[in-house]
């Protein structure tokens, strides 16, 4: 039985099923294997907020999209080449996002009349012409899975659970992937229950073999390894990279890492990951609420730890007063906000960039802090490290913004060495001579860190206004104004210590596309496509929000139009207009809980490039 092998440059696959079907695991296994064989990739897990949303309904569909290829991949892609739909609801939820002529693999065992009704199909989509123009592969996945695991001594309810592995096996064959990485994963995952490991491996293999034998599949595909820079790679998500960046900063400074936090979607994986590393003196403290999370971190910072709190939008709101306290007492602390759809509880599992205003301005009084934003899953490592560096060197809170998209999304990461990271200089006070609690260094205006346990440096700090230098409580009008200005200048001066803004494409022209944070991959994908046809356009992406890079003004002055693209109603553009009002700004916004697609961005860009 010989099959054709076709070579492709890039492919988008979407795995979709019920929220209990294991689609996230399936997708991440496919990603790991795909990364391992050298393709570049980007993933997009997209799941409901409910742990087990109503079975079979469109609202309960959990999806995992991956784009991979032999060239650089910056985003999880728009429409899928292949959709794996474990039930009619999964099909329905994704019908509009499959390429014409794309392949749809369905579990035919779950396409019964009552399944259609739950998914609110009025007729059988397999027969009514809905799927004309697609390459439909109907596989009795549930039943074949049951048969493939029949010989194993496992619970009955586990017998159909491995159907995600069966589906994965089909897709592995379709794209010529090896099985061993997932097999090893299953052995490790079920090391305490080897029968389950065997059953899952059997289902995976059965899916693979099924794909070989059925004649529905005309060919399988190969995607050559991408020409990535040489080095050692691994797959990484933004949340894990964030956690590791903090570990790196703790090791670089020889400080204990303290994470005071409260579980919240989509930030909890940072807590989960850091909780594993007690051996590195990591103190992960799951507090009674968001406020206690940050307050315990402030206490740890006062006592000399590298202090961190992690949260999402609603939690950042609760932490506001405490961030003000850390700002006032000029203690180093990193606040990580993995943004999600808001306002209020909003869309907990969806992505958005709508906390920018809250991060920059969301506190009482004049309360400036450093705000930076990571832009890809892997550079969360660098920006978490950088957040720690800035907090410690400038003695101030730093808010690091990531978002659900890059926090849960994965990509290959060329592994960094700690030795390659920039050094961090601590600002410790060690002796009484020449020291005062609020005496500042001239360049940064940072005060020194005098931690309990240090002889003769006993002093009192607090949220009441401080007298300049002594730090004693002061209600003097002139002193208050001076301190407000000093605290603002301290943050402004950070611009002297951060990289300048860089531009891709032309450095002078009609249009500058501007983005910030987690939209980098989406915008770059569209931009790369755009410049094949249009030349007079540049792209600048911001990782530093407050303060802005020093050369922002200079960069902007070279373009006729500045188009600011964000996943909110226009927050960064307001900040830019406030700081640099002289430019011709345009905005492009999307507030659907979803990342930008390439198509919609290119449509928008071309409006400005006639």
């Amino acid at each position: 039985m010989t099959k054709n092998i076709e070579e492709l440059e890039e492919v988008v696959i979407k795995f979709a099923g019920d929220s209990g079907d294991g689609m996230q695991l399936t997708g991440s296994q496919f990603s790991n294997t795909t990364a391992f064989i050298g393709n570049d990739l980007s993933t997009f897990p997209d799941f409901p907020a409910e742990i087990r949303a109503p079975q079979g309904t469109v609202a309960g569909v959990s999806g995992f999209k991956i784009q991979f290829g032999s060239t650089s991949v910056f985003s999880p892609g728009d429409e899928a080449d292949v959709l794996v739909a474990m039930n009619p609801a999964a099909l329905k939820a994704n019908l509009t996002s499959i390429k014409d002529g794309g392949t749809i693999i369905i579990d035919s065992d779950s396409f019964k009349i009552k399944d259609f009704e739950k998914a609110q199909f009025t007729s059988n989509p397999l027969e009514d012409g809905t799927l004309d123009g697609y390459n439909l592969i109907q596989a009795p996945i549930t039943n074949l899975t049951k048969e493939s695991v029949a010989q194993f001594d496992i619970e009955n309810k586990s017998r159909t659970r491995s159907k995600n592995m069966f589906a994965l096996g089909i897709v592995y064959w379709l794209f010529n992937r090896p099985l061993d990485i997932t097999e090893n994963f299953l052995d490790a995952k079920f090391s305490k229950n080897p029968e389950l490991a065997k059953a899952n491996k059997a289902a995976l293999k059965a899916g693979y073999n099924f794909a070989i034998t059925v004649e529905l599949l005309p060919s399988n595909y190969t995607i050559k390894p991408a020409a990535l820079p040489k080095g050692k790679y691994r797959s990484i998500t933004g949340n894990i990279a964030t956690a590791w960046g903090l570990l790196a900063a703790a090791e670089a400074t020889k400080l204990k890492l303290f994470l005071g936090t409260y579980p919240i979607t989509p930030a909890s994986d940072i807590l989960h990951e850091l909780s594993k590393y007690k051996n590195f003196d990591v103190i992960s403290f799951q507090a009674e609420d968001e406020i206690a999370g940050i307050c315990s971190a402030i206490g740890a910072s006062f006592a000399g730890n590298l202090a961190v709190t992690s949260t999402s939008g609603p939690g950042l709101a609760l932490k506001g007063e405490a961030i003000g306290l850390a700002m006032m007492t000029e203690l180093p602390i990193v606040i990580i906000d993995v943004q999600r759809g808001g306002p209020s509880t909003g869309l907990p599992t969806k992505t958005e960039q709508s906390d920018l205003m809250q991060a920059v301005y969301g506190r009482n009084g004049e309360s400036p802090v450093i705000v930076i934003a990571a832009s890809t899953p892997s550079n969360c490592f660098d920006f978490a490290y950088q957040a720690a560096k800035l907090a410690l060197e400038h003695m101030t809170p730093v808010i690091l913004l990531t978002d659900g998209f890059i926090a849960n999304g994965a990509e290959p990461w060329r592994i960094k060495k700690l030795a390659d990271m920039p050094s961090i200089t601590l600002n410790m006070a060690t002796k009484k001579e020449g020291w005062s609690p609020y005496l500042r260094d001239e360049k940064k205006l940072a005060r020194q860190w005098a931690i309990p346990g240090t002889k003769e440096l006993e002093h009192r700090i607090g949220g009441l206004e401080k007298q300049d230098i002594s730090g004693n409580v002061s209600y003097e009008p002139e002193n208050h104004e001076k301190m407000v200005t000093l605290r603002a200048d301290k943050v402004k001066r950070v611009a002297n210590f951060i990289p300048e803004l860089s531009v891709q494409g032309v450095s002078e022209g009609d249009l500058l596309i501007v983005g910030w944070g987690g939209t980098y991959g989406s915008i770059l994908t569209a931009f790369s496509e755009l410049i094949k046809e249009y030349k007079n356009v540049g792209f600048a992406h911001f990782n530093y929000i407050n303060p802005l890079p020093k050369n922002t003004n200079k960069v902007f002055s070279k373009y006729k139009t500045i188009l600011v693209c964000e996943l909110n109603s226009g927050q960064f553009i307001r900040l830019l207009k406030g700081e640099l009002s002289q430019f011709n700004y345009q905005q492009y916004n999307k507030v659907q809980g979803l990342p930008f697609s390439k198509k919609e961005l290119i449509n928008e860009f071309t409006k400005y490039l006639k």
């Binding site: 790679y233 570990l247 007690k278 307050c295 206490g299 002889k455 006993e458 009192r460």
Partner: protein, 340 residues
């Protein structure tokens, strides 16, 4: 050698700062500050290893006046900040200063959780049954019916009993004192520091401006002896001007009896067992109110239990013995990796 230690011994003065104390004249807080400054030289810690953390309120200005490390933080959150300090550096002696509003209203959540975890800190609760700094509104410990600026027709709120709440939350140490008894305060502060775990000391503190004489029935000269029961571990619960009144268990209730009347002898009087893990009797003692019963003072409960900070650091030490990774470089290179 002994001489040397004596010479270095810290005194009351070592713990005074150069800041003007800004409480109202006659405020009970002065006596507490002074008792603390007398207690601190007795706890065997250097100034550099002592930290005072407070929230917001009159009492929370306290850290500014004690020559140690100090942190005047935000309303209600001091237990969380103190927890962070203690976990970060378990060698520090950490004192939280709080009031009835700070601890039991806005900070109620942190109050119960720090007690539940048994973090090794000392929590000094200034209970004046009123909001002072905001100028006279009722607090969660104000007696029902109290007329204040925010309750001109009298409150309809029920009050918290801090001891009962604390024991309910799992407190391992609870003591009660009055601001007019400085010697007893010093002793109790020293006991609180000795106890491993969260030590809660409730101080009945008079607010001369907004709630003056609220505790006078307990503290007045004429009522003092008959209305205060000072508990000491291992000693019978005897009180009264004539030292002839005692507490007896009658069925499921405590009652006051007089030794020498109705055949009552000292043998009928309960012996205080502060170390008893079962909190039933401790609860009954903290619940005693005038006029039927005297108010219980002293160390009411002090039981041994492992502390959160000890257990955390034991876990950290243990994890080091079986660690898979010794550096971040090893972590990032673990799992599935590949070369290009």
């Amino acid at each position: 050698m002994e001489h040397l230690v004596k010479d270095q011994q810290l005194t009351f003065k070592d713990f005074s700062t150069d800041q003007d104390v800004r409480w109202c004249p006659g405020c009970g807080d002065y006596a507490i500050l002074s008792a603390m400054q007398k207690a601190l030289p007795q706890i065997g810690k250097e100034k550099k290893d002592i930290v005072f953390i407070s929230g917001i309120g009159c009492s929370s200005r306290f850290p500014y006046y004690v020559e140690t490390y100090g942190f005047h933080s935000i309303h209600g959150r001091a237990p969380a900040i103190a927890t962070g300090v203690k976990l970060a550096n378990p060698d520090l002696s950490v004192w939280q200063i709080t009031g009835d509003g700070d601890a039991l209203a806005i900070g109620g959540n942190h109050f119960v959780h720090v007690l539940r975890r048994n973090v090794d800190i000392n929590m000094i609760l200034f209970n004046n049954e009123i909001y002072g700094l905001t100028k006279g509104q009722f607090s969660p410990t104000s007696k029902t019916g109290i007329q204040t600026k925010s309750s001109p027709h009298g409150t309809v709120d029920k009050a918290f009993n801090p001891g009962k709440l604390a024991i309910g939350a799992g407190a391992t140490f609870f003591a009660r004192v009055v601001d007019v008894d400085p010697k007893k305060m010093v002793d109790v502060f020293v006991e609180a520091e000795k106890h491993r775990g969260t030590s809660l000391v409730e101080i009945l503190q008079n607010c001369v401006i907004f709630n003056d004489k609220v505790f006078s029935a307990i503290t007045d000269k004429e009522g003092k002896f008959d209305n205060q029961l000072w508990l000491e571990h291992g000693k019978p619960m005897i009180f009264g001007k004539e030292n002839n009144k005692g507490i007896r268990l009658n069925g499921l209730k405590l009652e006051v009896v007089t030794i020498g009347e109705n055949g009552i002898t000292e043998n009928d009087i309960l012996i205080h067992d502060a170390h008893c893990e079962d909190e039933t009797l401790h609860n009954m003692l903290v619940n005693m109110v005038l006029p039927e019963m005297p108010v219980a003072f002293g160390v009411i409960r002090s039981v041994k239990a492992s502390t959160f900070n000890d257990k955390l650091w034991e876990q950290i030490s243990h994890e080091k013995t079986k660690a898979k990774f010794s550096s971040i470089d090893e972590v990032v290179n673990s799992g599935v990796t590949w070369e290009i």
